[in-house]
Subunit: 447 residues, 2 copies
């Protein structure tokens, strides 16, 4: 096992040794004690990845009615070789995520270096210090077969382990807020029981204060605003948890201009997130068939879309482009489909869900047609795809972002490579295309 | 065969005799000659049904730059027992369609009685007088099996017959504008050849001036505005036809505030209409599966939708209600699916179209679940659906309209009746539910 964790820029950070843990906790504990003495609330953000790092900075940057910081934030990440580097980076005031939003880097620098309201640690004992824990640990949907999302499954283990750790370490009165997009039912019927068992094992008789409020992050130049200045939905497992969440979010987000929607139960807010992203996936998938129809019949689909978009009721129609990806749209419907069987206990998901799975499958395979068009364009020039040098411009899933997760371009590259082409890729936002650097983790297209 | 045509209010109009035709033409010819002497353009509107009657009045109500009426409009309808009554009604200044828009009745009265810019005739010889013909003849999509739109077919015969008549009678320089929603390719590859053959049979060597510009009528209180003050799309089979259409539409519609989209070929504007209504059908169908998911898991879908709608990119998400209908959404995707094979010659429509047909099938059968819910609600009260008295409120397909065509309520009534319930229906906008008065024309649900 590696003793280092390497950042995207190539910097090597030695992994912390277990014997450092006590000292590390004392360091954080002392900082938290100072902050609490100043009247600050202690917030632990679990997971400082794509969302958590920026969420941590937003909380740390928030101010109370007196204009002074009201929160002291501890960003926490497990010391794995894959992720540990984020901690020392964040600790010196650098963003662990490459953000296209010019607000991110200054905000992280400001909160870590100037305001000293944000620190980072790998030691989850920091949970003992928390008044509030925000969970930004990933919950992926792992697909097995290309173009058949139904054979996939939700990857709950990291989230479940995190909830267990939280249940083992937090104070009974600590609010725990799950921000992760999860399979509907996860918060109340999976995470809450885990925490309850951990509380019971500690002899605690109180119910854990657990809530759910998904983010609506949009990677790109408005990254911070898409978290802070955007409508939020929340819910709690209990009225107490719900009320604490409403108060907490009101202190850190712009809920004046973007009012909170408060729902009765976590399954409602969880379902909201799944439905809204499945809706968007469906809107995108819908045009796939009409773009092929248009291509084959001399219809300019871009003009068709422009003519339709003028209608206010149709203004969100969107050309699907050569491929559809991003972290959320390809997976969220899968979490809903999976939950219906595995959390909620229904066997008729295949009959019930007709649009959502079709939309994901269509989007996931749309890139294959790009490879066919390249093949045919070369044939029209008297050439073959095998051995051809192909330059692909754009690796990430949308313009002006560096996020390559589930990018539509990935399938284009894989399919063209399968056809024998020699691929080169250019993307000014992407230094590393991780998905292509660890090929064995991913199914080859066409299989 | 009936010698009368009976209006919805029960008024009986004797059908015209063939020997009246010559006198009727002379009457209209004299009126048109007077109008032309005043510098007016003669416009014939073929079909004075749901769209045509209001379109005719809008054209007749339009004024030129001098503030005076510039068009003399002849509304024409074949003298069939089913439709003839519209002609004498319109001729005395009464709307042949029951409109919820308070502008319709005064506009028809004003143009027929006061301005005398609108007349009605059953004699298609009026086409000989036209500078411009607007075609508002229906093109239905007739389904054979409930929940399987793919076995249906486009009903082109009325439109084809009309195009033949037009080709036989118009002056060569007359502009013909198809407003009907048609299967993509119809205008250029079906209607135009029909007209060309008719021209050739008359020894004419010029190409017919044929164009397409679909309406975006929305039944309800903004009926007139949805035709006149709304964005239009148009295209011509030839540049001449296109330019004449742009000029004509600019004279009768509010193209200043709602600019025209001019497309290169009719198949592009035809496809635009099909895609935009298929889009809407898909948006509605998408929530069917999530509404069942919500129903089974204690999730309030209305609240979910409200939470999603706040996002500008998701603001058009719409709760599908107990059933989805209306004249356009259930059929337009069918016209596209059908055209792909029957006009454009492709055999892989079943592979290509995955979302559009599924959306229509889902929407067409959604009402069945209402009957199941009624059945189950009665069972929970210890009663059975057979023999139960059921009152259905709302026969038309949406609020505040009387249009029952393809109404979602129809399936609810048919299914509950099949289950043995005794149905009563109340709808303040509906005097006659024609679809249920000629039952033999419609398949029973569940078969």
């Amino acid at each position: 096992m590696s003793k280092y964790s390497v950042s995207p820029a190539g910097e090597r950070f030695p992994l912390p040794e277990p014997e450092d843990d006590a000292r590390e906790f004392q360091r954080v504990q002392a900082l938290a004690a100072d902050a609490r003495a100043e009247g600050k609330e202690i917030v632990v953000v679990m997971g400082v990845g794509f969302v958590g790092a920026v969420m941590a900075a937003i909380v740390a940057d928030s101010v109370g009615p007196d204009g002074k910081p009201g929160k002291f934030v501890i960003g926490c990440q497990r010391p794995s070789p894959r992720s540990y580097w984020k901690i020392p980076l964040l600790a010196r005031g650098e963003s662990p995520v490459k953000a296209e939003d010019p607000d991110v880097d200054p905000m992280i620098h400001r909160t870590v270096i100037d305001k000293k309201t944000l620190v980072a640690t790998h030691n989850s004992d920091c949970l003992k210090l928390a008044d509030c824990v925000v969970v930004d640990v990933q919950c992926d949907y792992s697909k097995r077969d290309l173009g058949n999302m139904k054979t996939g499954s939700a990857e709950m283990s990291a989230l479940e382990a995190t909830m267990r750790t939280i249940g083992e370490k937090i104070q009974p009165s600590c609010l725990v807020l799950v921000e992760t997009t999860v399979a509907p039912g996860t918060t109340e019927f999976v995470a809450w029981p885990i925490m309850k068992r951990a509380f019971a094992a500690r002899g605690l008789r109180t119910e854990p204060l657990l809530a759910h409020s998904f983010e609506r992050v949009m990677p790109g130049r408005d990254y911070v605003r898409s978290i802070r200045d955007f409508w939020r939905v929340c819910s709690g497992c209990t009225p107490d948890a719900r009320d604490r969440t409403v108060k907490f979010l009101g202190e850190i987000l712009n809920t004046r201009d973007f009012p909170l929607t408060v729902m009765d139960r976590p399954i409602e807010s969880e379902t909201t997130k799944i439905v809204e992203n499945s809706y968007r996936a469906t809107i995108l998938a819908f045009l796939n068939e009409w773009s092929l129809f248009a291509e084959r019949n001399g219809v300019d689909l871009v003009k068709v879309i422009q003519a339709i978009k003028v209608r206010p009721t149709h203004s969100n129609i969107i050309f699907p482009g050569p491929g559809i990806g991003g972290y959320c749209l390809p997976k969220d419907g899968g979490l809903g489909y999976w939950a219906y069987k595995h959390i909620l206990g229904f066997e008729d998901g295949d009959q019930l869900f007709r649009i959502t799975p079709a939309a994901i499958d269509i989007n996931d395979t749309r890139g294959l047609h790009v490879a066919e068009l390249v093949r045919d364009a070369l044939r029209n020039m008297g050439r073959y795809i095998a051995g051809a040098n192909v330059l692909l411009c754009g690796a990430s899933y949308r313009e002006d972002v560096g996020d390559t997760r589930y990018s539509g371009s990935e399938l284009v590259v894989r399919k063209l490579t399968e056809m024998g082409a020699e691929l080169r890729v250019h993307d000014p936002y992407v230094d590393h295309w991780y998905e292509l650097e660890s090929q064995s983790d991913y199914p080859a297209p066409g299989h």
